[in-house]
C-alpha cells in the first residue's frame, strides 16, 4: 500500500522525478539499454500524470494557445478552476462559448472550419496520433492486444528480462511504456474521476463527451501523458523519429500535459482545471511494468483543493459510505457487485454473515482444497439483492502473504441447494464433475 502526494514523495524510489531530458542514448545502444531508458521515461511520464503540483499556468496557457493556433483559431482567454468539478460548473455558466457538440454524424455535415473549437482540437489530436501510429507501424507492430500476437506475454516479464529472453524490444516498449501508461492513467485514474464528476453534477459521465444530447469535450491535460508520453518515449529511447511538423504538435500537447489538469476548450475561452491536491495509489500486485491503481482506505484516493474527488478502494470506485460506515442495509441495497464486495471486505465476511442474518443452507468440504469448506447461504427472503439468489462463501486455495486464506462470497442462482453444485455452476459444470476436482491453488 502506498500513498503518493506529489511525485517526489512517493515511497517507491522509481518515482523520483529524474530530469532525464538530457539523457542521451548512445548511438550503438543495445535493446536492453533502450528499454532501460524507456522505463525511466515511463516513470517520469507516470509522475506527470499523477502530479499534485500546482499548475504551471503560464506554460499551460502558452501550450493551449499553440493548439488553438494549430486548430486555426486565435489563443483564447483563460479561466482557472481548482478542480474538474469547478471547471465544469464554469463551463456550464459560459455555455454561449461552448456550442453543444452532438454526434459525429452531425459534425461531418458541416465544414471543419465551422466546427466548434473543441471538435477541431479533437480532430487535431486524432490526426496527429494516426500519423504517429502510421510512422510506427512502418517499423513495427503498433498496439497488438491479442494473446500470442507478440506482446501478449511481455507483461509477465520484467522489461529487461523480456528483452534478454528474446522478445523484441519493439514489443516490450509497447507494453512497458504504452500499455502501462494507458492502463494506469486512462484506465485507473481518468475513468473513476469521470464517474465521480458525473455523479457530482447529477448525471452520468457523458456530460463531458459529445453525444446525441449534445455535450462538451474535456481534454485530460496531465493524464494525456498516457498517449503523449508513449510517443515521446518511443522517440527518445531510440524507437524511431517523427516528421518535424508532427514533432512540433506533439511538443505542444506534451508541454500542456506537464503543466495542468483537465481543460475545456471553448470559443475564445478555455476553462482550465488545477491538478489534484492528493493522489493515493498502490502498485498492481505482480506487475512488472510500473502499473498503479488508485487506492485509499480512509478517504478519497484522488482529491482536489475544493474537496471534489473520487473514493477508490483497490482500484474499485466506491460510494463514500463504503469508507465511512458500511452497514448490512447499505450493502443489501447496493446493486453493484464490486462495490458490495469492497464494502463486505471492509466489514469482514464473518461479521457480515452474522449481522446480515444470512442462514446457512448447507456446507461441505471444498473439492481439491483440503481443510476448506464451501458454505452456501440464503439471504432473508424479500430483502435486497440476496433475495435474488444465494451466496457461496469460498476460501482461496493459496494463502495470502500474511499466511491467512482469503474468504469471499460468490453470487449463485437461487435454485442451487448443494454447495458443490453451486461451486460447479460458477465454472459451468455439474456437481458430479466438479466433485472430482484434484487441486485448487
Amino acid at each position: 500500500m502506498s500513498a503518493a502526494r506529489g511525485p517526489g514523495e512517493h515511497p517507491d524510489d522509481t518515482f523520483q522525478y529524474a530530469t532525464s531530458r538530457s539523457v542521451r542514448l548512445p548511438r550503438d545502444a543495445s535493446p536492453v539499454e533502450k528499454i532501460r531508458l524507456a522505463v525511466t521515461l515511463r516513470n517520469e511520464w507516470l509522475a506527470v500524470g499523477l502530479s499534485t503540483e500546482p499548475a504551471d499556468r503560464p506554460a499551460a496557457e502558452a501550450a493551449v494557445g499553440r493548439l488553438y493556433e494549430l486548430a486555426g483559431a486565435r489563443p483564447p482567454a483563460f479561466e482557472w478552476a481548482v478542480s474538474p468539478l469547478a471547471a465544469l460548473r464554469a463551463v456550464q455558466a459560459a455555455r454561449s462559448r461552448y456550442p453543444a457538440i452532438r454526434s459525429p454524424r452531425r459534425l461531418v455535415s458541416r465544414r471543419t472550419g465551422q466546427w466548434p473549437l473543441a471538435a477541431r482540437l479533437a480532430v487535431l489530436e486524432s490526426g496527429l496520433r494516426s500519423r504517429l501510429d502510421a510512422r510506427i507501424r512502418r517499423a513495427a507492430v503498433a498496439w497488438p492486444t491479442m494473446p500470442g500476437d507478440g506482446t501478449g506475454t511481455v507483461s509477465i516479464y520484467d522489461p529487461e528480462d523480456a528483452v534478454l529472453s528474446g522478445i523484441s524490444d519493439r514489443s516490450v516498449v509497447v507494453v512497458t511504456a504504452g500499455q502501462s501508461l494507458r492502463g494506469t492513467l486512462t484506465g485507473a485514474v481518468v475513468a473513476p474521476l469521470r464517474a465521480a464528476l458525473g455523479q457530482a453534477i447529477g448525471r452520468d459521465a457523458s456530460e463531458d463527451q459529445p453525444g446525441p444530447a449534445g455535450g462538451v469535450i474535456a481534454f485530460r491535460g496531465q493524464q494525456d501523458a498516457a498517449w503523449v508520453g508513449y510517443y515521446d518515449i518511443r522517440r527518445r529511447a531510440g524507437f524511431g523519429g517523427y516528421a518535424s511538423a508532427d514533432l512540433c504538435e506533439l511538443d505542444a500537447w506534451a508541454a500542456l500535459a506537464r503543466s495542468a489538469g483537465w481543460w475545456w476548450p471553448g470559443e475564445g475561452l478555455c476553462v482550465m482545471a488545477e491538478r489534484p491536491a492528493a493522489v493515493h495509489t498502490e502498485p498492481l500486485a505482480g506487475s512488472h511494468h510500473g502499473e498503479l491503481r488508485l487506492h485509499h482506505a480512509d478517504g478519497p484516493a484522488i482529491s482536489f483543493a475544493d474537496g471534489f474527488g473520487a473514493n477508490v478502494v483497490h482500484g474499485t470506485p466506491v460510494p463514500g459510505w463504503v469508507l465511512s460506515g458500511p452497514t448490512v442495509d447499505l450493502i443489501r441495497a447496493e446493486p453493484n457487485i464490486e462495490v458490495r464486495r469492497s464494502a463486505i471486505e471492509r466489514l469482514g465476511w464473518d461479521a457480515y454473515l452474522r449481522d446480515a442474518g444470512m442462514t446457512l443452507v448447507a456446507s461441505c468440504p471444498d473439492p481439491g482444497n483440503p481443510g476448506a469448506e464451501l458454505r452456501l447461504y440464503d439471504d432473508l427472503p424479500g430483502k435486497g439483492w440476496g433475495a435474488l439468489g444465494r451466496v457461496l462463501v469460498v476460501t482461496n486455495g493459496t494463502p495470502e502473504p500474511g499466511g491467512h486464506r482469503r474468504r469471499y462470497g460468490i453470487n449463485v442462482p437461487r435454485d442451487l441447494d448443494n454447495p458443490v453444485a453451486a461451486a460447479a455452476w460458477t465454472y459451468g459444470l455439474t456437481g458430479e464433475l466438479y466433485a472430482t476436482l484434484q487441486r485448487r491453488t
Binding site: 507483461s155 457487485i337 499466511g403 453470487n411 455452476w425
Partner: protein, 170 residues
C-alpha cells in the same frame, strides 16, 4: 522435459515471477484431472464432450473446425489477465510440446481456449503459484457469478441459460 518441477525451478526456468510468500521448494503436483487456479479451471476436454447423460443431452464442448493452433513459445502464453488489478495466468511448456487455441465451441461461453500437450505443461500465476498439467487435451474455463439484477428463471444445467452473470476476476 519440464516435469516434476518446484515453483522455484519453474520460476527460474521461465523467468516468470511468483510472489515471495508462496512455497517455492515444494514439487508442483501434475494431474490429468480437473484443477482450479483461482478463477480459472482446467478440464480434460473428454469430460465436457458428453457431460450430461440423463435424457436430453446439451451440446458438448468441442474444438472449432476453424480453430487455429498456436505453439506455446518458451516465453509462455498469457491465458487471462484481468483489466485492472489482476495478474496474468500464463501457460508454459517445453517448446514443441504444447499448442493453444482460442477456437473452442462452449455452450456455457466460459472457455478461454484449449491446450493440447504431449509433455507436462504448467499454468503459472504470481499469486496462485503453479499447476502441472499432464499430457492430454484440456479446456480452460473462467469463472462466473450471478449478477445481482435479474432473477434466474431457467432450468439447470442445460445450455440455454437465462441467468445473467458476470465473469469473476480475482
Amino acid at each position: 522435459m519440464l516435469t516434476t518441477l518446484t515453483l522455484a525451478d519453474l520460476a527460474a526456468r521461465t523467468g516468470l515471477d511468483v510472489l515471495g510468500h508462496l512455497e517455492r521448494e515444494v514439487t508442483i503436483p501434475v494431474t490429468n484431472g480437473i484443477q482450479a487456479q483461482g478463477d480459472l479451471l482446467v478440464i480434460p476436454i473428454a469430460l465436457l464432450a458428453t457431460e450430461a447423460s440423463d435424457g436430453w443431452a446439451p451440446p458438448g464442448v468441442s474444438i472449432a473446425d476453424s480453430a487455429r493452433w498456436h505453439p506455446v513459445p518458451a516465453a509462455g502464453i498469457e491465458v487471462l489477465r484481468a483489466g485492472t488489478g489482476g495478474n496474468p495466468h500464463t501457460l508454459v511448456a517445453d517448446p514443441g510440446t504444447c499448442r493453444w487455441t482460442t477456437g473452442v465451441n462452449d455452450p456455457e461461453t466460459l472457455a478461454l481456449g484449449a491446450l493440447t500437450t504431449t509433455g507436462t505443461a504448467y499454468l503459472i500465476h504470481p499469486e496462485h503459484g503453479g499447476s502441472g498439467i499432464a499430457p492430454g487435451t484440456y479446456v480452460i474455463r473462467r469463472q462466473r457469478e450471478r449478477s445481482g439484477t435479474t432473477p434466474r428463471t431457467g432450468s439447470f444445467p442445460h445450455a440455454t441459460n437465462p441467468v445473467q452473470y458476470e465473469y469473476i476476476v480475482d
